[in-house]
Amino acid sequence: MSPSKSPEDRAIEHTDALVVGAGHAGLAVSRFLGGAGIDHLVLERGEVGNSWRRERWDSLRLLTPNWLTRLPDHPYQGPDPDGYLTAREVADFIGGFAAASRAPVRTGTEVTSVRAVADGRGRDGYLVRTDQGEIRARSVVIASGACNVPVVPGFKDALPDSVRQLTPFDYTGPAALPEGGVLVVGGSATGVQLAAELRRSGRPVVLSTGEHVRLPRTYRGRDVLWWMQSSGVWDQRHDEVDDLERARALPSPQLVGTPERSTLDLNALIELGVEPVGRWAAVRDGRALFSGGLRNVCSLADLKMERLLDTFDEWARKYADDDLTDEPQRFAPTRVPASARLQLDLRGGEIQTVVWATGFRPDYRWLDVPVLDAKGRLRHVGGVVSDSPGLYAVGLPVLRRRKSTFIHGAEDDAREVVEHLAGYLAGRH
């Protein structure tokens, strides 16, 4: 056979690195690929920063403050470093980054399949199918997001038809809901934020929560995320974390970004009139059955928060500068109701709407490479998918550090993943 390209081969486009997704993570990768002079493409099914344009509710603001909102060489430069961006502003911020780094993005291009191909001539790589044609890539970076699909428990089908069910992807704001009571399921950032705004709209709100991460908005006069950042907790690496599986499954912290910088833990919600109940365990005869373990998940959250604050104080004693004058604080334990309800009749009319704030998962239906574990999670070590050389990922929980899924966490991960990828292309591993 002649060593020249076959006709099919010539017709098809080639690139050294193909990035799936133009969210902040994919764009951060593109930035470093560009810096290393690596020929690459970023494919995006929608627009740049699509998830912030299409998948967030109306009132959403980042829970991370503006001074922390930064991408490689692209810090927030607006007038309010202590504020929190709206979803639209995040999309614009990401768009600004894409423009500034002149990222080679093709929008409106959905990746429908990625397959490993070996052509027997030492040019192994991936065949990427899109709704706009095929591309051969020597390496592929999965930057398609960790939150593509809301996760909803299987018993959703057992709910009576009279109850309307929404996920955070369908939810826009209280005005779009029917009048009447709402059962918000999930005590992470999303759950507490939606419970608070629904309660403020005048509706009775029940919040069902299992294990959750309690944090005060500010601690000793600073945003609690300043502490996470400064004390180095967020920089803790994937290979230093005690129980990586657990760290990766941790729900988002109970935080909201508001001008008042107010805390939104269960005590704040109880103050607003939200009724907490235990984890929603099952539906039986049209009734929601909640776990009787609410008190323990609250103790666990209280204890974990205290341990974290202890870590902050210890760090402050050793390293903080003198302008940190505010004294250590401790917060009242969660005021768990004396007897939380264990069941709720969903046919009785008390609850008109159920909002599932039960987390998200990635969608890998387009990934035709056998690199998922039994639970559908990508097998990787620090973003390197070792089972399939040349395949990488960014933007997954604790990918390389605790801060991996946050906007400011993309830079360090993207840099290191691109370093590995560059070595792979150069034949070093």
Binding site: E211, G278, R279, A281, A282, R284, L289, S291, G292, G293, N296, S299, L300, L303, E306, R307, S339, A374
Partner: protein, 182 residues
């Protein structure tokens, strides 16, 4: 580092966790009990065999449990009431958890006492009031622990033992129960 001796082989448990992560079939256990009616509300239940790690297994000896009702229920009191067995299960499960977690965290225990109280409105089982449930209204467990640890670490031991407790889960979450006639 001092060696902590709570008598729990935590290493074996951690090893088992690693092995079973990759072998979910082997992790499937079936616990069994077999009960015979004596007379009145008195029954005798024996426990010896179970299935686990892929095969039939046995406890070293058979355990025998008498259940009856107290004399105030006009019974003979040949043993504790069935619902009290739930307290036995809960207390022993949480206590085992405290010991295991303490061992894993390097905390030396000197004594662990648990007082368990289940409040029960018996109008439910008597059918005297249909709004009253049959089971416990609530259960309260109070631990008294003497250990080389701060009060906060002891709180954390107790919280973690609930998080990993089979009986705590079985009592606080609904379980699908099938009862049929052979």
């Amino acid at each position: 580092m001092t060696t902590v001796t709570n008598g729990v082989n935590v290493q074996a448990l951690l090893d088992a966790r690693e092995v079973l992560k990759g072998a979910p079939e082997a992790a499937q256990f079936t616990w069994r009990a077999s009960s015979t009616w004596r007379d009145g509300v008195h029954s005798t239940t024996t426990v010896q065999d179970f299935f686990g790690l892929g095969e039939e297994r046995s406890h070293k000896t058979e355990s025998v449990f008498e259940a009856d009702h107290p004399e105030v229920f006009a019974a003979e009191d040949n043993g504790i009431t069935p619902i009290e067995y739930l307290l036995v299960g809960l207390a022993s499960c949480l206590t085992a958890g405290v010991a295991s977690v303490a061992q894993n965290r390097g905390i030396q225990l000197r004594s662990v006492q648990a007082a368990v109280e289940g409040r029960h409105d018996i109008r439910g089982i008597l059918g005297a009031d249909s709004d009253v449930r049959n089971g416990f209204n609530d259960i309260k467990v109070t631990f008294t622990i003497d250990a080389d640890a701060s009060p906060q670490e002891i709180e954390a031991l107790v919280a973690q033992s609930q998080k990993r407790s089979a009986v705590f889960d079985a009592l606080t979450n609904p379980t699908d129960v099938t009862v049929e006639v052979a």
